[in-house]
């Protein structure tokens, strides 16, 4: 029975209300986000006021400048955090500015910058995006737009809005902020997915699917937030953590509130696991990755994954850090399902983009082992993995954009057509081989270090069976990665072989950065790997805000 229903729970009373006074906000610490947001809004204004002919150059310059500037600001703030401290929070504790958030934001910004290069690639006035997305595919109207050379330069502000959402997603320190970030990140992506120039219906189908399922998962997420709020009396991660330590808000002194918390964790988990694409919430990934314009796929596969894992790590390490024993079995289950099922399904994929999508799912499984570890080592391993994987995957998708069925044709996704590519375009095939070897976790590539770091952390946390499953799953994935390499280098070129179009400067730089990062992070990982989590120094004063494993909260 509910007791004292007449009185309002004290915990609810103590929640901050908007009427008190104007909050103090440190705009300097928020500046990376504000720069991206300002540029995005400015981009919309450009769309409204600048003539079409001059828009593309202007938008591209703006977007690149904004991501670059935001990156510089992020780095500056990273340098301003005192040694041994994790960081701080601002805006009533709703946004965390700590090393983890700054590292992931910096990663997102760099990866977004590279993705923008791919997005901007224009071949004979033809980009990867529809001339006019609102026209009915195959209609006269669409043709007239193609002939007129129409372009959707809205892509750039949309990407910036998505990037803004991603930045906030990794730094959000309360559930409402996180939800807003989730939507700010997702809505532009839904739209961008439907803008592919070729196979328009396919692309639109992918966008609608992504939107429907995304909305579905958002509902889970939101419901979970409501339950957790009911349990803890706050949406702030620090308050939630305190409430868990105290056994719930004062309403639940008898401990009866635990189901609220557990179901809340589960539903929030569903929302986040959908975004990272873990099994069984992965179904959207292959369809969407395949249907979306490839540059957008590259953006999603790298930046969105970083953001989603950033949020997942933060929620499970800080807000729910105290109930690690409760959620660990759940993540064990999901991680094993993800690593096994996705690897198995990937074996029979025949389309390169679908294969890379499943590969992304498997990698999400590997990174989940680091979340399961729930230790600073796990956190550092996951952060390194995300950065390493991001560069590699962008490079791989950049290569996909270059292999066409014929000059001016659509991308040749069918893997059978890639036979003998190593003979005809050795540099391209060699780069892809490097990326695939990194995915497979072969030493001297970044993928090896990342895998080693997360598995080591999981082992240290006692999740040895999980690591065994992970290693076996790696072996299965290595099989299909190596199969592609064998196909490219040892098979006779197919009769109707694909045409490799010459990489423009933008795509070329994206691939070059991918190759360099994959290689450098594999050979010299220490400068990055050793500095991801603050080293606890004994002299450091009591940190200003509560921290958990390198996160502030």
């Amino acid at each position: 029975m509910i007791t004292e229903t007449s009185s309002v729970p004290a915990a609810v009373l103590s929640a901050p209300t908007i009427t008190e006074q104007a909050p103090h906000i440190d705009y300097w610490l928020l500046s990376p986000l504000l720069v991206v947001f300002g540029a995005a809004v400015l981009g919309v204004l450009f769309e409204a006021l600048v003539p079409q002919a001059r828009r593309r150059a202007l938008q591209l310059g703006l977007a690149l400048a904004a991501t670059a500037a935001a990156f510089v600001l992020t780095v500056l703030q990273g340098g301003s955090i005192p040694a041994g401290e994790a960081g701080t929070t601002l805006a009533l504790g709703s946004v965390a500015v700590d090393r983890v958030a700054l590292f992931l934001q910096g990663t997102i910004l760099v990866l977004a910058f590279i993705s923008l290069l791919l997005i901007a690639e224009n071949r004979r006035g033809e980009s990867a995006f529809a001339a006019q997305a609102a026209t009915v595919p195959g209609s006269e109207e669409e043709r007239s737009h193609i002939l007129a050379g129409s372009q959707h330069t809205e892509v750039y502000p949309l990407v910036l809005f998505a990037v803004l959402g991603m930045q906030l997603f990794t730094a959000a320190n309360d559930f409402l902020t996180m939800f807003i970030a989730l939507e700010v990140m997702s809505l532009p992506l839904y739209l961008l997915c439907g803008l592919a120039r070729r196979r328009r219906l396919f692309s639109q189908e992918a966008a609608v699917k992504y939107f429907l399922l995304g909305a579905f998962s958002s509902a889970f997420f939101l419901f979970g937030i409501a339950l957790v709020y009911g349990y803890a009396g706050s949406v702030n991660f620090a308050r939630v953590s305190e409430a868990i330590d105290a056994g719930g808000a004062s309403l639940f002194e008898d401990g009866s509130g635990e189901p609220l918390l557990l179901i809340g964790i589960a539903l929030i988990g569903v929302g986040l696991l959908f975004k990272v694409g873990a099994v069984p919430f992965h179904n959207w990934k292959p369809d969407v990755y395949q249907g979306a314009p490839t540059p957008i796929t590259a953006l999603m596969a790298s930046c969105t994954l970083v953001a989603a894992f950033g949020a997942l790590l933060r929620v499970f390490y800080t807000a729910f850090g105290a109930s690690v024993d409760q959620w660990r079995p759940m993540l064990w289950t999901v991680a094993i399902l993800t690593m096994v099922l996705a690897a198995v399904v990937a074996v029979t994929q025949r389309d390169i983009k679908r294969l890379l999508a499943y590969s992304s799912v498997v990698h999400a499984g590997f990174m989940l082992t680091a979340v399961v570890a729930a230790s600073p080592e796990g956190l550092a391993g996951a952060m390194f993995y995300l950065a390493a994987y991001g560069f590699t995957t962008i490079g791989a998708f950049a290569i996909v954009t270059l292999v066409r069925t014929h000059e001016n044709g659509p991308e040749a996704g069918e893997l059978a057509q890639w036979a003998g590519l190593g003979r005809t375009s050795p540099l391209l095939a060699g780069s892809l081989a490097l990326f695939l070897l990194a995915f497979a976790g072969i030493p001297l590539t970044s993928g090896f270090i990342g895998k080693f770091a997360v598995f080591e952390a999981a082992m240290a946390a006692g999740a040895t069976p999980l690591v065994v499953v992970g290693v076996l799953s790696s072996a299965v994935t290595a099989f299909f990665y190596v199969r592609i390499i064998v196909l490219m280098f040892f098979s006779e070129p197919a009769e109707t072989g694909p045409t490799v179009i010459r990489a423009g400067g933008l795509t070329g730089s994206a691939i070059a950065v991918g190759v360099a990062a994959t290689f450098l992070l594999g050979v010299f990982p220490s400068p990055v790997l050793d500095n991801l989590v603050p080293q606890p120094s004994e002299e450091a004063a009591e940190p200003a805000v509560a921290t958990a494993d390198g996160f502030t909260r």
Binding site: I2, T19, Q21, S256
Partner: protein
Amino acid sequence: MELYAPVLVLGAIGAAFVVVSMVVGSIAGPKRYNRAKLQAYECGIEPTPQPAGGGRFTIKYYLTAMLFIVFDIEIIFLYPWAVHFDELGLFGLIAMVLFLVNVSIAYAYEWRRGGLEWE
């Protein structure tokens, strides 16, 4: 479980209301169809002729609908701000102006790109 009892009761009542009203309506209501009744209901105006291929609304409806929602939400935000205008002071005023500017930019975009032209 006991904690959830009121919620479950509320849910049951809600579901029951939906089912009962639909069932009762279909049983008790008179069924005399004519042309006007079978047409799509478009807020009382004369229904727009449908494009060939059938049944689809033109995308312009959605543009208008979204514009409506944007301003609708704007008003929702304006209410609590207006109520607490004194406490929020200058900070609130600047924040709200920035918010309005943002919404206006979206509006300007739609206007300039022909979202408001019906044909």
